[in-house]
Amino acid sequence: MNEVLIPLWAQAVVGALVIIGALITLLGSLGLLRLKSYFERVHSPSIIATLGCWCIMHATVLFFSVMEQRLALHALLIAVFISVTVPITTIFLMRAALFRARRTGQNVPPAVSRVVSSDPADNVENRY
């Protein structure tokens, strides 16, 4: 470990933010482990990508800004990227799970696209 000196208040804030972020991450991961059905479980890791990621990102921004005596916003890039991409992945996974649940005949809501679409090419059975 390098001996980099940052003020005590910055150490306190960075330490608190990192521990809060890690606790929230553990919470989301426990939800992934404990919840019963897949459609409940798919919501649980979102708290990691939002609150946990933002807490640790703020700790990183504060630490490197104080250490290098300039505004170090590079960690913001990761948080913005995560907050853009994680909903897309989650929606894709939910659609895949719904599609597979319909295929196996489980009790899930029917596909909407069959009802809404007037195009005969869209009237494929079990379209997601």
């Binding site: 470990m1 390098n2 001996e3 980099v4 000196l5 940052i6 005590l8 150490q11 960075v14 330490g15 608190a16 990192v18 521990i19 972020g21 890690a22 606790l23 991450t25 553990l26 989301g28 991961s29 426990l30 992934l32 482990l33 897949y38 479980r41 798919v42 890791p45 990691i48 990508a49 946990g52 990621c53 640790i56 990102m57 700790a59 990183t60 630490f63 490197f64 250490m67 170090a72 590079h74 960690a75 890039l77 990761i78 990227f81 995560i82 991409t85 994680v86 897309i88 992945t89 894709f92 996974l93 659609r95 895949a96 799970a97 599609f99 597979r100 997601y128």
Partner: protein, 92 residues
């Protein structure tokens, strides 16, 4: 560095490893394939957060690039696997 700061970072790393162990258990257990993909996606995010905490711990910005790459590839691989579950192939 105050010893409490190092202690806080070590505790955070331990909590992140515990979170990753939970996700790993879901990855190994998961009844369906989408559970495993979701757990892997979760593990990617936790690994990225671990990289950021390690970067604070060793006062180095080198970990930032690794975290960015993990975020990038995690998103792409999860989307590709979701597409595979949906259609049975990745690129049509």
């Amino acid at each position: 560095m105050s010893p409490y700061f190092v202690w806080a970072l070590s505790l955070a790393l331990f909590l992140l490893i515990a979170a990753m162990a939970c996700a790993l258990f879901r990855l190994l257990k998961g009844p369906a394939a989408q559970d495993r993909v979701l757990a892997l996606d979760c593990m990617y995010t936790i690994g990225m957060l671990t990289m950021l905490v390690l970067g604070i711990m060793y006062s180095s910005t080198d970990y930032f690039e690794a975290a960015l790459l993990i975020a990038l590839f995690g998103c792409i691989s999860s989307t590709a696997m979701a597409k595979f579950l949906l259609r049975g192939e990745v690129i049509e």
